[in-house]
Amino acid sequence: MSTPAIAVENVTVHYGEVLALDAASLTVDPARICGLVGMNGSGKSTLFKVIMGMVKPDAGTVRIGGQPPSKARREGGIGYVPQSEEVDWQFPLSVRDVVMMGRYGHQGFTRRASKADRAAVDEALDRVELGDYAGRQIGQLSGGQKKRAFVARGIAQGATIMLLDEPFAGVDKRSEATITRLLRELASDGCTILVSTHDLHALPQLCDEAVLLMHKVLMHGPPERVLQPENLAMAFGLDVLNRKEAG
């Protein structure tokens, strides 16, 4: 058996009195796309933060490719695509500037770009089909293009694990299909991808497996099975289910 790309074991996290993760365990094998499903406050963001080592768990362990997260980070193995609301889209940076930030871990003290860095950035931009938009200010991209710009940053970085927080929020159907295709390509090249999403109907096309999260991992399996209404009811409460049927 190969070493899992992501191994979260019995991780518990409290924020003061509030319990965010309760002995959550999750293993994702290399080159798989795993969808993380749960309501707001179910611990999805916390799980991301634990994997990135931004939050230290009160208990439990995290291994990235068999290594502690800090080591995986220093090697540039972890790429992160933030939620749209977390980004200042007015920030005076071009698409190329943002993608170049993926190379910083490979660069020296002043982060001066080498020829190899520029080549890696160009390649990543072509890969996500943003080559023609490289000079644009990041706010002047469409919703889907913005996401792809950040995916390109992860590609330029050489990330073997990619974490995407709500990649389909504010993205139209066509861009959603483009992003799905892109992520599937990356996975077939060996990248392991963890996606948190509210967008349940997009999951089966995108993901190899899905996880229901409610402070702990309620269920982990093929998307079709995890997305069964009775299972969703567990994670979201019956309310959502009824509303969905009514709609």
Binding site: M54, I78, G79, Y80, P82
Partner: protein
């Protein structure tokens, strides 16, 4: 020409111009990050809170920068403590801490003999810059400037996306601390010229002006210091000929230039964008006809 050269025949004017231009450049470079992170209030706070540190340093004969750094650190720590351990929100915490420390500085000045010297710290004393003052500003300014420029890419990454900084193994905490330290250092540089009360203007206005003029951070880092240096020198000349307070005149000039850019910037300006729109409409109408 005569008008430009005449003031330069006085040594004190030359020193004033050199000091101000230097402080203006360092402050302007730093301001690019401050306005983008949303740390303007923090700049205000730190530049005021260093006052007791500077006074204490003066009393014991230590370098001003040392006292300023210590009190900048104290201010930031206290702000964090008040915010995190009570229901008081951050802006209130900042207001409480910096005004109290500033007041402490004023009290210390009032009980320290040789008050005149220290009063200059509050409103600046551009025309009374001595040679040692100039050397201190020069050394601190060059150090702060060099660090800012060498680490500019990391600082921009920190401002734009600290999570990514963390994800690639950098420490956002350390970068934030570096920026705060540089803020304290820069405050000391600017104290000499415009004084504690007006430092914040030098720490915000140039960055904000440049931000309205370009969509590229690398260009902001050129525009802000150039605009700031030109404004500062213009301000000194104006104060010389109008016989007004020099520090205040420097800040006023910067404010006026910001207002002009705010109104007429082709991309972001209030009137500039409307003019551009009208031109486009006219062109479209002509093309249609």
């Amino acid at each position: 020409m005569e008008l430009l050269l005449e003031p330069l025949s006085y040594d004190f004017m030359v020193r004033a111009i050199v000091t101000t231009a230097l402080a203006a450049v360092v402050c302007a470079v730093l301001s690019c990050w401050l306005v983008l992170i949303g740390w303007s209030l923090m700049g205000d706070a730190v530049s005021h809170a260093v006052l007791p540190g500077v006074v204490l340093a003066y009393i014991v004969g230590a370098p001003f920068a040392l006292g300023a750094l210590v009190f900048a650190l104290i201010a930031v720590t206290l702000i964090g403590v008040v915010r995190n351990t009570s229901r008081v929100k951050e802006d209130a915490a900042i207001g409480i801490v910096f005004s109290s420390l500033f007041a402490l500085g004023l009290v210390l000045i009032s009980v320290t003999p040789s008050q005149t010297d220290l009063n200059h710290i509050i409103f600046g004393n551009l025309l009374g810059v001595s040679i040692p003052d100039l050397i201190q500003v020069l050394v601190l300014g060059v150090v702060a400037f060099a660090i800012l420029i060498l680490k500019r890419r990391d600082l921009t990454l920190y401002a734009f996306d600290p999570t990514h900084a963390h994800a690639i193994g950098l420490s956002p905490q350390r970068l934030g601390a570096l920026l705060l330290g540089l803020l304290a250092l820069t405050s000391v540089v600017a104290l000499q010229t415009v004084g504690v009360v007006l430092v914040v203007a030098m720490l915000i206005i140039p960055g904000a002006t440049a931000y309205l003029l370009t969509d590229r951070f690398s260009r902001m880092l050129v525009i802000a210091p150039v605009v700031s240096a030109v404004c500062s020198i213009a301000g000194i000349y104006l104060s010389y000929y109008l016989d007004t307070a020099s520090g205040a005149m420097v800040v006023l000039t910067q404010g006026v230039v910001f207002a002009v850019v705010y109104l007429f910037s082709p991309r972001q300006g209030l009137i500039g964008t409307r003019l551009a729109k009208a031109r486009r409409r006219k062109a479209a109408a002509l093309a249609a006809a």
